[in-house]
Amino acid sequence: METRSQIRARAFVKIWTAFVILAIYLPIICGALAGLSKGRYFGFPIRVFSTEWWGKTFASLEIQSLVQNSLLIAFIVTLVSVVFAFFGALAFARYDWRGRKLFQKAILLPVFFPQPVLGLALLLWFNALGINPSWQTAVVAHLVWIVPVVTLVIAIQVYSFDPTLEEAARDLGASRWFILREVTLPILWPGIWSGALFAFLLSWGNFPLSLYTAGVDSTIPKWLYSKMVAGYSPMVPALGTMSTLSAAAVLLVGGLAIALVRRRQADA
């Protein structure tokens, strides 16, 4: 039996959580409404709804190139960071080696670092090397921040990994490549997929690093920011909403795929 105070505490926690979730999604809903209202200026309550600005945003060639840049950066970042982070996570959580504790802490430092300052520091560094900032340098900047995050995500999966499985395969005469492909990778797949999902979405939505390190190339968040400070256009909330919905779709599909992999693992 629950006491009365426990029931009260439970109700408080539930109401508070619901309230905070509402507050989190409120601005996203405001943006969606602004992007769907007719007319050049935003006013509430919305008088006439229209998909005019969505259409204009879709048709814009400038925005198509932004989407291409953002996608290209996110795909490369995902691919590279998963490979780096896979080995990084093994070093983080699996192997016992001198320097592991130091490695664990060093890898957190880019995460525990203000991103705008990291972006500006990278800008200085690229300049010192004589490299012109472009979308390629933005990829490097994203990697510095995203690889540590993905390493942590995969490391959590590695912790639940039983190393005697690898040893057993080795004792049975399996080659290193065979063990990696048939034992290690299948067990770690859910963690790797989660890491890939994080990498893609964090790169897709990243603003501070792209702002300083992409040079003349623009990404969706960077372009949105330049329009926000220049004055209001309904294309800003329209594109913002589209970008949010794409991220939600990727998360949904990716999340379902990971759940499927986990279930198949549980059955096997």
Binding site: F12, V13, T17, V20, I21, I24, P27, I28, C30, G31, L33, A34, F42, F44, F84, A85, F87, G88, L90, A91, F92, R94, Y95, W97, R98, R100, F103, K105, A106, I107, L109, F112, F113, P114, P116, V117, L118, L120, A121, L123, L124, W125, L143, V144, T151, L152, I156, Y159, P163, R176, L201, G205, F207, P208, Y212, P221, Y225, G240, S243, A247
Partner: protein, 298 residues
Amino acid sequence: MAAVTYTATAGERSLLPAIPAGLRAAAPVTLLLVLGFLAPLLTVAAYAFATPKSFDVFRSFTLANFSAVFDPSNTVWMSFAWSLAYAAATVALLAVIAYPIAYGLNRMFGKWSGLVGVLFVFPLFVSENVRLYGWVLFFIKNGVLDGGLKWLGFSGGPEVLYTPGAILFGMLYVYLPFMLFPMSLGIAMIPRDLVDAARDLGASRLMIWREIELPLAMPGILIGMLLTFVLGAGAIAESKILGGQSVITIAQDIEVAFTYAQNWPLGSALALLLVAIVSGLALYVLSKLDLDRILGKR
């Protein structure tokens, strides 16, 4: 135990001499961090000692940039004070806001906790300027709040946009997940039977919280506090979008020095001071924590 010693077979040994497997696995990430994190920071450090308003890095040495920062006639220390105060306020308020949610995620939501967790993660994937701009649309004149209240017959909403308070609100909003998830990991480390045992022995709710739950969840809470403090100290988008530059944060001063003012040495000196504060704190807190225990839950 996840850690295991590995002995290479004779064939491998000839190819890969005595490098331990862990070090080899760590090599790509280490290389990335040296070239993409350490090297840029060293460049900033080098620029901080170069002649002001020049690009004579490595060719000049002066402390003029630092004396400019500490010059009382220069108001840049105000930005430092604002940023650190905002960061501290963000940490304190978010600890209170996030604790009940983190507790609920672990103890109360049951099968819903996965979904609730995803709802809190998702905003991380929407860039902060889009979300902050949503708040502008909410608070602006004739926006959702003001227009909605007028429509209901009230005289209109309060003017909160472009004030220092709006910046704090934006920071609480953007950094909530960075407090919530480490905190939730921390609360997950509290063994439930310990709480039950204490209750059976007659400990009051407050006593259980103070003597058992809080100390055991502390590593996670500390990580959350550290993360939000660091991010808050380097915040820039909140003051630019919601604050209308009513307050200039330190990150913005650094940005101006690097861009419009073209005074890289001054910007570097400011960045170096910020990094010294932030990483000093980060290294101190991280040295107190055992990451295997927090992430591995063993």
